[in-house]
Symmetry: C3
Subunit: 406 residues, 3 copies
Amino acid sequence: MTLPIKLTTLLITLAALTTAMAETKRFVLTDTTQGIHVESFNLSSKDLGMTDGPAWSIRKYTLHGGKEEGVEVIEVDNGKLTFSVIPTRGMSIYRVTCSDVRLGWDSPVKDLVNPAFINLEDNGGLGWLDGFNEMMVRCGYQWAGHPGDDNGRLLTLHGKAGNIPASIVVVSVDTDAPHTIRIRGQVNETSFKFADYQAWTEINTTPGSATFSLNDEVTNLSDYDREFQLIYHANFGPPLLEKGSEFVAAVNTVTPFDDAANKPAEVKNWTTYKGPTKGYGETVYCLVPYGDKKGNTTVMLKNAKGDRGIACSYNIKQLPNFALWKNTDTLHDGYVTGLEPTTSFPTTRNFERKAGRVPTLKAGQSRQFQLSYTVLLDAASVARTASEISKIQGKRKTTVSEKTLK
Amino acid sequence: MTLPIKLTTLLITLAALTTAMAETKRFVLTDTTQGIHVESFNLSSKDLGMTDGPAWSIRKYTLHGGKEEGVEVIEVDNGKLTFSVIPTRGMSIYRVTCSDVRLGWDSPVKDLVNPAFINLEDNGGLGWLDGFNEMMVRCGYQWAGHPGDDNGRLLTLHGKAGNIPASIVVVSVDTDAPHTIRIRGQVNETSFKFADYQAWTEINTTPGSATFSLNDEVTNLSDYDREFQLIYHANFGPPLLEKGSEFVAAVNTVTPFDDAANKPAEVKNWTTYKGPTKGYGETVYCLVPYGDKKGNTTVMLKNAKGDRGIACSYNIKQLPNFALWKNTDTLHDGYVTGLEPTTSFPTTRNFERKAGRVPTLKAGQSRQFQLSYTVLLDAASVARTASEISKIQGKRKTTVSEKTLK
Amino acid sequence: MTLPIKLTTLLITLAALTTAMAETKRFVLTDTTQGIHVESFNLSSKDLGMTDGPAWSIRKYTLHGGKEEGVEVIEVDNGKLTFSVIPTRGMSIYRVTCSDVRLGWDSPVKDLVNPAFINLEDNGGLGWLDGFNEMMVRCGYQWAGHPGDDNGRLLTLHGKAGNIPASIVVVSVDTDAPHTIRIRGQVNETSFKFADYQAWTEINTTPGSATFSLNDEVTNLSDYDREFQLIYHANFGPPLLEKGSEFVAAVNTVTPFDDAANKPAEVKNWTTYKGPTKGYGETVYCLVPYGDKKGNTTVMLKNAKGDRGIACSYNIKQLPNFALWKNTDTLHDGYVTGLEPTTSFPTTRNFERKAGRVPTLKAGQSRQFQLSYTVLLDAASVARTASEISKIQGKRKTTVSEKTLK
C-alpha cells in the first residue's frame, strides 16, 4: 500500500537508487508500497543489446502446487555461474552452479516451502527445519541461533529472516561493462513495539565471473536501540564436501560447541571432514577468525583432491565470529557443512548476551555486510586461496579451547 | 463448498437478504458456500445510472507480492469520504480519508499482512502485533484483550477476529436515494467443539456524507452457551492526534489500567494528549461511559485547535465499557490513540471473567453492534459534538479511581 | 524443484509407474519436483472414448476466497458414487455420495480451510479442530492421537498429515475395462533431522461401483529408524448415523477410553447409537478387532432400519487397533461417529509408546495400508455384511474391559 515513508528512510532509499539510476537498467518485480508485482519476468543480455561481454539471463517465475504454492524464484545465469534467489523465503539463495561445482546441499526437505506452511514455533521452536534446504539462508534479525527462552519469550531456531517474503524486489543491470547484475530485496521484520528491521539484501555478479557477492544493509528503523543477530548460513554438500575435504581459514580461537565437538578424535581433526557417516549427527566449532590489517579475511572449503573449492571473503569487523557446522551425516539425511560468518555464536540469544556477543543497532542505525563467494575450479585457484589465507594467518597462533562453549 | 445450512441460520440470512433485496443492488464478491469469488470489481454511480446524488465508486482488488500476497482490498469513495476494507483481515477498516482528515495511523507495520504469514502465538501470544496497522480492527470473538493463560490455554492478544479471512463478502447499494452503500462480510470463528461464532460485519455510508457506520451481528451458532468478547479497536494518529488533542466523552468512572497510567502527571491529564514522546510507551484508561436515557453516547477526539475531530456514537447497552489507549510514542514507532468501545476491559479473559465483565452468548443467540463515525471538519461541528456530549453527561459526576485496574 | 532423487526412491517410483504405464492413462496434476501444476482439469469416459461401461468424470478445480483461498479439490463421479479429494489438505476425502447415502458429516467447520490459516499448536495443540470436517482424514505420520507432551515436545492433535499439501498429484484411468480410476497423491512430512515420511496415498474406484478403496504406502525415507502412527479417521453423520444405528464388527477386546465411556449405561450399549443428544460430548471405545485367517476383517455402520450402511474392509496385520468415536452430540455442533482403523489408540504418543503400541518404520522401510469402503444400499447387503462379520467372529469371545484405557 502507498504509505508515508519516514524521511530518513526515503533519503537512504533515494541515495541507493540515485547511485544506481545513472548507470543501470532497473526492473521492479515487487514493491508492496507501490502495488507493483510482476508474476513472471525474463531478461537477457540480448534484450538489452549488451553484446560486448558474456551472454547472461535473468528469469523470474512463481511455483505452484503443494507446499511450494506461490513461492517466487529468480534464476540468474551470468554465462558462467547460475544462482537462484527465493524472494518468498527472505531472499535466500537456493542453488548455485558453476562448471561442475554445485554449491548447496541435498536436504531431505525437497520443496521450496512457502513460509505460510511453516510454523517456526513447532517442535519447541525448531519449525525452521521444515523448510531448511538452501545454499545460503540469513538467520536473524531479532535473533539467530538455537531456540530457547529469553526472558519468557521462546526464540525460535535461527529467527524469522529466512521465512519472511520480501516486500520489494528489484533486478538491475549496469548499462556499462562489466554489466554487473544485482538482485535486491527488502525484507522487513516488523512487529509493533518489538521490531522494525529493514534488511536490504543484495546478491550481485558480473557476467562471466565465478564470483557472486552479498551486499546487505540492515537498518533498525525504530526510534529505539535494539539488539540484533545475523548469521550467514552458507551450506555445502557434495561435490565440495567429501571424505578428506578440508576447511581452511586464518583462525585465532577455536571452541568446540558442545561435548560432541570436544571428543579428542573430533577436535584434532576439526578442519577435515569425514565421508557420509551414519550416526554422526553434527559437530560445531565456534571460531574467531583473524583478518588482515583492514579486517578482511577469507575462508575456504576445498575438496579432497584440492582441485575444487569455494572461497568466502568478508570483513571480520562486520562479522567477528564464525560457526563451522560439520554435519557429515548420511547422504540422504543431510551430508553438509555450514560455513557461517556471524555476529554471535549459534547458542541462544540469552547465552550470547551474557557472553557479550549480541550487538545493538542504535535507533535508525544501519550496518553493512559484504561477503564474496568465489567458486574455485582448479588446483591452482585452490592453492592460491590457501596461500592468501596463510598470509592472513601469518605467524599468529590458533588456540583450540579445551572447554566447550556451553 | 455447498453445504447444508442450519434452518435458523438460513432464516436469519434470508430475513437479512429479503429486507435488502427489494431495495438494493447486490453484488456477491465472495461466498465460499456457493463457490463464488470475484477477483476484481469496479462499480460506480455512473454504472448504475444514479445521477441524482454525489458520484461514488467501489473498487475491489487483490494485492500481490511479499507478505501482502493474496490480500483483498475493497475501496469505497462516497464522493466525500473514502475508506478501505480488508476482507482477508477480518473486514478490518484500513484507512479512512475525508477532506484533509485521515483516520488511522502510521504503524511501523507497513504491509497489509496476509494472516497466513502471522502466527498469533508468536512472542508469547503477541503475534497479532505483526499485522497491526488498521484504523479499526475488531478484537474477538472468543476472547479479546491481553494475552494470557485461561485454564491452561494461551489466549493470544486480541483474539483471532482480525486475522480471519471473510467467507462471504457482499457489496450493496440502495436503489433509492440516498443510495446507501454497504460492505458486508461474514467472518466465521469456528473450531469443532470450541467455537462457532458467525460475525456478519457491515460498514455503510451514504454518498456525500462524512459519516460511516458499523452494523454488526455476532451470533453464537453453537447449541451451547459460550462466552464472547468484542473490542472495536479504532485508532487515530495525526492529524487528529497531536500535542494538545483532547478526548471528550460522558464518563462515569475512569480506572487507570496499570501503574504507568496511574502516575499523577498522567492521571490528571487523562483526557489530553502529549506530542510524540520518546520513551512514552502507552497509558490505558478503562472507562465506563454514561449514555442518554436510551443508552446512546458519543465520544470524540478533537485536534488541538478544535477544528477537526472524529465522533463515534454507539449505545452503551451494546458496549458498556471503553478503553482509551494513549500510545503517544514517537511518530515512527507509533503515535496513536485507540478509542475502544468494548464488552470488557483489555486485561486477560481470565481476569475479566473474575470481574464479571465477560458476557455469554446463549446457544443460537445474536447481538447487534452499531457504531457510527463522523469526521468533524470545522470548529462548529466539534463544538456541537462537545455540546451533545456535555448534555449526555449532564450533572453526573466522573469518578477517577485511585487504584489501578490490575 | 528438480532435485536429485535417492536411487532407491527412484526405483520404487519407477516400479510403480511402470506397472501403471502399460495399462493406464496418467495425468499429472501437480508435481513440485518437475514444476508441473494444472490449475483446472476435466476428464470423462467420453473424452477417452470409453463407452463400454458406466460414464464417469473427474474434475479438478481450485477454491478462492476466505479461508478456502487456494484449496484444490478433485471430484470423481464413477457413475454411481461420487467423492471429493482435497490435495491441499493431505489428500483427505471430503465427501462421498452414493444414491441417497452421504458419507461424511456436518461439522460446524463449513469451509475447506487452507492449512496456511491453521496453527496446529493453537489451543494447546488442538488447532487441527479448526479445519476438521472431512469424511476421511489420515492422522499421522510422526504421531497421531491426543495432543500432549512427549519428551518436551508438544505433539498436536492427530499430527500434521491432514494439513500437508500434496507435492505430487496424479490421476489415472485404466485403459482396459473395468477402467479403474485412481487419484494418487504424495504427501511428504519432512523436517531436517526429525522426519522424512513419504506417503503415497491412493483412492481408487471402478465405474459403476458402490465401492472405493484406499491403497496407501508410507515410507520412512530416512536412514534412521523412526516411530510412526497412522489413524484412518473416517467419519459418518446422518443418514447412516441416527438413533438406533449400530456398529457391527468382529471384536476381541473393548476398552472404554475414559470414564465417560465407562459409565454402565454407555458401556452396555457401546455398539448402538443415541440420536442427537445435547451435552453428550463423546465416548470412545478402543477395540482390538478379530480378522479371518489372513487377517482380513470388516466393520460396518448400519442405520436403524438396517437398510443402509457402510462397510469398511481391511487387514488387522496392517492396522491392529481400532477406535470407535461416538460423538452423538447435537446436529449442529457435530452428530458424528468415527470408525477408525489405527496403528495405535488415540491417546498421546507418549502413553501409546509405554503401552507398546507405537510401531517403528526402519530406515527406508515402507508399509502398505489398504482399506475398502462399500456403501450398502439395501437390507440384503447389510444382512450379508453382518453375516460375513459374524463368520469372522465365529465363536470367539468379545471381552469388554472393566477398566478404562487411561
